[in-house]
């Protein structure tokens, strides 16, 4: 086993924060190395150093045994290292082929871009990925999963010797993941080294040959994938017993609180498409209702319609037996509906405001006396929320940017709770949140539900869907395709349902166990 790429004693310091503390990391040719770790453990930082996007504070990177620190992403690519980013880094205003060949255009003799050659290469790579996308289509017109495939195709085209995949499957359906895995196998068989990072731990373990776990910027464990189980990985990531993640709960379910009937919501990005199609559901007092769906399944539009951000095309929403009509977000918050959006950076937080000001933003009306905000009552309520939702912060005056992802998410949840809602809508509350904070968040939600709060949360993680909610609805292409009590459904059924009924290939199914 030879290491193509090797990080030696790599340390990275941002300001006073040690993101990496002397990490040794080997990537072997022809093998898949899965890198595990909570958010903030240093996975992305390490990958950025390997891919030339960041430079280590101390330590070095060796390629084929020689010290080579890539100076830029371009330089790394020239050395045969390419990276598929966690965040999509495509230009939506350009076509698929323009994106694939951006800054690496194929040029003809005159120096002009040889579009025919580019188109042929694009078609070929798309065929390999079993995704027949027209090379001239705009990336903006593709659904999210297809965009992710374009991102993968771009890395493939570079004929990399080391391919780093940081969350490549977050928007992919199970058959698409199966295709990607088959492709990864082909690549490793041809000697390519693959580094694989995913929040879907079981999926990463399935494809991995070698397992590496990071915690708090340090390498804590390495193993052969065949020697270890999921629980071993999780306990090393968290540094404690993973069974505590999903505590049992005895729900006390009361009267119906929220009722949707025949709800139809148009896709805000593309008004000709229905994001939510004839959807009806009832939520009861004290109930935790899970909605399992992939990105693009309509889960975000569904919650945004209930929260008043999008006006539905048809259908009714009733809260406590009263129709909500077409009132806006402000009115719905006053009536007791609070939304925790999926993308907390874009929709949840105001980066220029303090932790405390973010928490009180939605419930500010509670503290207004006469013309002004009463800062004493505000401060008291904010510090109560900070301790209730266990935000780790130096205080209410701290900057939002100083918090970790999990703590930022707790701030957004705290903001929603401060409005004293009857119905709490959580859109992928565990996205980009480490395992510890995830457990905190679901424990907190369960505690609120015991006090009578009704909760809808969406998730694309099977483990969460199977263990957290009292009742689970499966959403695919804007329609409900299944409803289950806890314990009534298996992981495989869930995966196949969420693709809209397409069966999972047996091979992938067996390996998923």
């Amino acid at each position: 086993m030879t290491a193509v790429l090797r990080a030696r004693e790599v340390t990275k310091v941002y300001g006073g924060t040690h993101a990496l503390k002397g990490v040794d990391f080997d990537v072997a040719a022809g093998r898949v190395t899965a890198l595990f770790g909570e958010n903030g453990a240093g996975k992305s930082t390490l990958m950025k150093i390997l891919a030339g996007i960041e430079r280590p504070t101390t330590g070095q990177v060796e390629l084929d045994g020689e010290v080579t620190q890539p100076r830029s992403a371009r330089d790394a690519a020239d050395h045969g290292i390419s990276i598929i980013h966690q965040e999509l880094s495509l230009c939506p205003n350009l076509s698929v082929q323009d994106n694939l060949f951006l800054a690496r255009e194929i040029r003809g003799r005159t120096g002009a871009v040889d579009r025919a050659a580019q188109r042929a290469a694009t078609t070929a790579v798309m065929r390999r990925l079993e995704e027949p996308i027209d090379p001239d289509r705009l990336v903006a017109d593709l659904r999210l999963g297809q965009q992710q495939i374009v991102e993968i195709a771009r890395a493939l085209l570079q004929n990399a010797r080391v391919l780093i995949m940081d969350e490549p499957t977050s928007a992919l359906t199970a058959p698409e993941v199966a295709v990607l895995f088959r492709l990864i196998r082909e690549l490793t068989a041809a000697g390519v080294a693959v580094v694989y990072i995913s929040h879907h731990l079981d999926e990463a373990l399935e494809i991995a040959d070698d397992v590496v776990v990071l915690r708090d910027g340090a390498l804590v464990a390495t193993a052969k994938a065949r020697d270890v189980e999921l629980s071993w990985i999780v306990s090393h990531m968290v540094g404690r017993d993973p069974d505590a993640l999903f505590p049992d709960r005895e729900p006390e379910i009361g009267e119906p609180v929220l009722a949707l009937d025949g709800l139809v919501v148009a896709d805000p990005q593309n008004p000709h498409r229905l994001a939510v199609d004839q959807l009806s559901l009832t939520l009861h007092e004290g109930e935790i209702l899970g909605i399992y769906g992939l990105m693009g399944s309509g889960r975000t539009e569904l919650l945004e319609a209930v929260a008043g951000r999008i006006t539905p095309v048809a259908g009714t929403i009733e809260l406590g037996g009263e129709p909500l009509g077409t009132t806006g977000i402000r009115d719905r918050i006053a009536r007791g509906i609070a939304l925790v959006p999926e993308d907390r950076q874009r929709d949840g937080l105001v980066q220029t405001m303090s932790v405390g000001q973010n928490i009180s933003l939605a419930g500010l009306a509670r503290f207004v006396r006469g013309l002004f905000v009463n800062r004493d009552t505000e401060r008291a309520a904010v510090s109560k929320i900070i301790s209730d939702v266990t935000v780790k912060t130096s205080g209410a005056a701290a900057a939002i940017g100083s918090l970790s992802g999990g703590n930022q998410q707790k701030v957004v949840i705290g903001k929603a709770l401060l409005t004293q809602p009857r119905v709490l809508l959580l859109d992928e509350p565990s996205r980009g949140v480490d395992v510890g904070a995830k457990a905190d968040i679901f424990a907190l939600v369960a505690a609120q539900a015991r006090r009578g709060l009704s909760v809808i949360f969406t998730t694309s993680e099977a483990e969460e869907a199977l263990h957290i909610p009292d009742r689970l609805l499966v959403l695919a292409r804007g329609r409900l395709v299944g409803e289950f009590r806890r314990g009534q459904i298996t992981r495989e059924d869930l995966m196949s349902l969420s693709d809209g009924g397409t069966a999972v290939p047996t091979e992938a199914r067996e390996r998923a166990r």
Binding site: I329, I333, T352
Partner: protein, 369 residues
């Protein structure tokens, strides 16, 4: 082949982090005060260069000049906090003065064949209303019709200036003194009155600054404004009436510019339709030197006032020490760019300081689950 090691933060790490955090916080404090420091440096340098700079009379004169820009800048601050820009304020200054001139010299109402002479208080109210109206149009263009603020207010810059020229027919209203017989005297008070020994315009600046500071710091509207400028989507999803906030800031900005227009017309006891040209740029410069971010969400009244003083004292000081007008323009430009560069530096420091502080906190207070 399974190996396990556990990381533990060392004692050394903790003290080092705390020291870094402290050092950064001192630097950050200096950065915070940079506009004050710049003002202090200006005052010291000009006092050394000229005996007449730091005299009571001269300081009051210079502050009167500052007041006009500061009043406009306070409105501009609100717009910039929202993440917008208001290019129309200079034209509103001109329009407001022209409307005052027209009203004070007698407004003929064609159909009735009478000439109306409204009292001075009514003239002031009407002029401010005109400024608010222009602001309202800006606000509606930006919120309802989704026109970019730069374009919407650029359009209104021309429209308001055109209106001023149309109303005045391009001429200056020469005498705004009014006449006792018509009961419309007293307009001069705004420009040359001295309640409690200080010019009215300085009082107006102080009162407006206090009001805007109160609005920003204490009222829910202030919080909404900072949130809208910081992240409009998050503010919207938190139930902030984003469009109302956005419209209101343009209306307030229009009102502030109209007040400045009245002060100028009153000081000169005449109103020219060209008054206030390029004043929008001075106001933007004051807000930016005062540390506000053009991207929105960051800025204070205190900073904006200091910014207005820096610009005003710099301009007048250069005149007093006899620097040519051309150099004045060049120096002003350099100061603005320098201010923004320092601001970028401060933001980087703040981020590092925040990271260091929270890292120190995380190390000293171990995770409590």
């Amino acid at each position: 082949m399974t190996t396990t090691t556990a990381p533990a933060p060392s004692e050394h790490d903790t003290t080092e982090l705390a020291a870094t955090a402290r050092r950064l916080s001192i630097l950050n404090g200096l950065f915070e005060l940079r506009a004050f420091i710049a003002l202090a440096v200006l005052i010291v340098v000009f006092s050394l260069l000229s005996d007449s700079f730091l005299t009571v009379t001269n300081v009051i004169t210079m502050t009167k000049h500052v007041a006009i820009n500061a009043v406009i800048a306070l409105g501009m601050l609100l717009v910039i906090l929202k993440g917008g820009i208001d290019l129309s304020v200079g034209s509103i200054v001109g329009l407001s003065g022209v409307v005052a001139g027209e009203l004070l010299q007698g407004m003929s109402i064609g159909v009735l064949d009478v000439v109306a002479y409204p009292p001075v208080w009514a003239v002031i109210v009407l002029c401010i209303a005109v400024g608010m109206l222009v602001g309202l149009v800006n606000g509606i263009l930006v919120t309802r019709f989704r026109v970019a603020p730069f374009i919407a207010t650029l359009g209104m810059l021309y429209v308001a200036r055109g209106l001023a020229l149309l109303i005045s027919n391009g001429a200056t209203y020469p005498n705004l003194g009014g006449s006792p017989a018509l009961g419309n005297t007293g307009f001069g008070f705004l420009g040359s009155g001295r309640p409690l020994g200080l010019p009215t315009s300085i009082w107006l600046m102080a009162i407006l600054a206090a009001a805007v500071a109160l609005l920003l710091v204490k009222s829910p509207f202030g919080r909404w404004l900072y949130a809208t400028g910081g992240n409009e989507r998050a503010a919207d999803l938190s139930g902030v009436p984003v469009n109302r906030v956005k419209t209101i800031v343009y209306v307030v900005s229009g009102a502030c510019a109209a007040i400045a227009g009245l002060i100028i017309a009153s000081e000169l006891t005449s109103a020219a339709p060209q008054a206030g040209e390029t004043y929008e740029l001075n106001a933007i410069a004051a807000v930016v030197i005062g540390g506000a971010a053009l991207s929105g969400g960051r800025g204070t009244v205190r900073g904006t006032l200091v910014g207005a003083f820096v610009i005003g004292f710099l301009a007048d000081g250069l005149v007093i020490v006899g620097v040519s007008t051309f150099w004045q323009i060049l120096i002003k430009g350099a100061v603005i760019v320098l201010a923004v560069m320092l601001d970028q530096g401060q933001q980087r420091f703040q981020r590092r300081q925040g990271a260091a502080a929270s890292a120190a906190a995380a190390v000293t207070k171990p995770a409590s689950h």
